[in-house]
């Protein structure tokens, strides 16, 4: 136990406890976006702040005591720092980080090998190839002002010449060519970063085609037959519907002959009282089928 107590002064510098320095510094760089990362310093229940500084080759050669605070990393709570805005020249940069907790600060931890942005990983760019009528149009992702795009396009037929267009606009559709109907056009693209003098690999090839102007014969014939059918069927349907509606709304009622009365009702009434026989005969002649039915 006494041994542990004896060690306490070693952990204090000028009466201030020393935090452990951040470890495992590394830079991850893709498409000219540079991220400095390190293993976090852990103190249970506390939030550690980190300070990041950089020094270009100029400073390391001529003014080695000068370290410049990072634009986004002084301070930061995350164990990483976007140093893209700090690395502005294609020379080696030294980077260092230290941890801070209240009045406690760690020693500086320096990146083992200076970082040069010409080591950035350039990926094939994302492109969207579309047809606007007969126009071949391409839209490219926005990778920032340091990127130019080399677009290669050609007709997919033997011996076709490959055209190359340099595109500097970002995120805006660009017209490449007016396409001939029935011919496939293929496109591929890669980036160029002039600041580091490097290209990315080419993207996957994408091909598009515009349909021909003349319809296939079968399609035309089918369309004609369909049109003629419509010409016949529609009037027929309308006529049939008309008849149906007429019979539904205003049917013509035809009385059966057994129910037809040839004399007027006035005469019938007078016949019942005074002229039974002639009337009865007359009535009977109408009623007979009815009685026979009963």
């Amino acid at each position: 136990m006494w041994f542990l107590y004896a060690l306490i002064p070693c952990l204090l510098v000028d009466g201030v406890a020393v935090l452990p320095a951040p470890q495992n510094l590394s830079v991850h760089s893709t498409n000219m976006k540079h991220l400095l990362m390190w293993s976090p310093v852990v103190v249970p229940g506390e939030i550690i702040h980190y300070f990041v500084e950089y020094q270009g080759e100029y400073e390391s050669l001529y003014m080695s005591h000068i370290w410049i605070p990072s634009s986004w990393g002084s301070p930061t709570e995350d164990p990483e720092c976007d140093i893209t805005d700090d690395i502005t020249a294609t020379v080696p940069y030294n980077l260092r980080v230290r941890a801070s907790l209240g009045s406690q600060t760690s020693a500086w931890s320096t990146l083992q090998h200076p970082f040069n942005r010409n080591s950035t990983i350039l990926t094939p760019p994302v492109m969207e190839v579309t047809k606007d009528g007969f126009h071949l149009v391409i839209k490219l992702e926005d990778l920032g002002p340091q990127f130019e795009f080399l677009v290669a396009y050609w007709r997919r037929e033997p011996g076709a010449k490959e055209h190359v267009k340099v595109v500097r606009s970002r995120g805006i559709p660009v017209h490449l060519e007016t396409m001939e109907p029935g011919v496939a056009y293929c496109v591929k693209v890669r980036t160029l970063v002039k600041a580091i003098g490097r290209h990315s690999p080419f993207s996957q090839v994408e091909c598009v085609k515009v349909q021909g102007e003349t319809l296939p014969l079968a399609l035309a014939l089918f369309a004609f037959v369909g049109f003629m059918l419509i010409l016949v069927v529609v009037p027929l349907s309308i006529w049939k519907m008309g008849r149906l509606l007429r019979y539904s709304c205003c049917p013509v009622v035809v009385l059966p002959s057994t129910l037809k009365i040839t004399n007027s009702p006035q005469k019938l009434i007078s016949c019942r009282r005074e002229e039974v026989e002639p009337c009865a005969t007359a009535v009977l002649s109408s009623e007979e089928p009815f009685r026979a039915w009963l």
Partner: protein, 177 residues
Amino acid sequence: MKAQRVSLWLVAAMFFLCSVHTRGLRRCLISMDIHHIEETFQEIKKTIQAKDTFQNVTILSTPETLHSIKPLDVCCMTKNLLAFYVDKVFKDHQELNPQILRKISSIANSFLYMQKALQRCQEQRQCHCRDEATNATRIIHDNYDQLEVRSAAIKLLGELDVFLAWIDKNHQGPSAA
């Protein structure tokens, strides 16, 4: 007749050599983004130039310096001035403002990169130094030394736009030929 033909051939050869030498600078700086450096300087130009206590005097824009440089001497002059800024001017200037320091650091490191590119060109014999370029460089050094160190440094920092525009103009193409 023969003499006329020979002289015509000589003139043509000279023009060819001129264009080759002018293109020498453009080829050497082909991967350099001068506009980015110009934009960086624009952000601090007013602050720097406001500190210049001798604003009616110029070091780079005199008739004997940058404006007198011929296309053949462009590469050498650029190399000499870059070295002057890197070895002397940026060191003589003591900047305390972190924002300004960040921008000056960016320009200084970009100049270091340009120096390396031009050194590679010189190794390939594309950046010859004639007396005209050497004399113009000496005039600039002499004018700089006549001022107090910090004032001279601030003045040349303030004239970075002149230097960058001159590089850009010569970088763009053989029009100077």
